[in-house]
Symmetry: C2
Subunit: 159 residues, 2 copies
């Protein structure tokens, strides 16, 4: 089962996003965990590889089960885990263009309108706006259209 870690830097009201060439969709920098890595190590390594910078204040904001369903929406064709981190700063100057796409700073609010997977919009908006941790499952078609999302959240110390 794939495990993907991504990391959104939120600094001065802006977020650092990667625009992927194929569909023009925006994502937070990230990628696949290596064997025996922790999710934290994977998020920082992937961010470093994709941006050329080191995140500061890395913290987990969401853990998501990603389910790809057949076109009838009945059978699970693939399933993986997504771990979404934030950081509040970075050390270094990000690449502008990489083999993965183009790196751009955008105002936080643009997360509501930029083209991206609808589940990513849910995750990244939570990560920038709300305290605590979010959990959930995103059900997608094989064409990556969102069928359904089921979410939970919690804040440490809340009743």
């Amino acid at each position: 089962m794939q495990r993907i870690a991504n990391l959104l830097v939120i600094k001065d009201g802006h977020v650092l996003l990667l625009k992927k060439p194929r569909r023009g969709w925006y994502v937070a920098p990230g990628g696949k965990m290596d064997p025996t890595e922790s999710i934290f190590e994977a998020a920082e390594r992937e961010f470093q590889e994709e941006t050329g910078t080191t995140p500061i204040g890395t913290h987990l904001k969401g853990v998501y089960t990603m389910a790809i369903m057949d076109n009838a929406g009945q059978t699970v064709k693939d399933e993986w885990m997504l771990y979404t981190f934030i950081a509040h700063d970075l050390s270094g100057t990000p690449y502008e263009t990489t083999t993965e796409g183009v790196l751009e700073w955008h105002p936080i609010e643009s997360l509501q309108t930029l083209p991206m997977a609808e589940g990513d919009r849910t995750n990244l908006w939570f990560a920038t706006q709300e305290p605590g941790m979010q959990y959930g499952t995103f059900f997608y078609t094989e064409q990556f259209n969102l069928l359904k999302e089921v979410l939970q959240k919690s804040v440490e110390g809340d009743e």
Copy 2:
């Protein structure tokens, strides 16, 4: 890849532990995630099934990569993910004995001395004592002796 979620209720200075019959080791109630479940849903479902009660204030405290190494410590034989939650109360009266083992309340401090996997001791102690989230990898032998642990932690909003 297996995904395991467990949940430690911490109430009135005590924790609810399951004593497993085979080795007499203590664990937090939990078990395997079902397909398309979120980690939060899995932790609450497994806790409910194993104790007959519903946790209150469920919150994630740790995400761990578990690596079983061959006896030379060089090759990964198996790898899975462990998600450790806490709760500060429960609704209902826990079973005393289940097919999984015996449920017992113990003082928090006894986590340092009760027989258990050494990685579980690290996880559960962190969950009861420290703010924020812990991440890491535990390297075990096939006989489940701890070879090495590599840990990271973060607290939301910390610099």
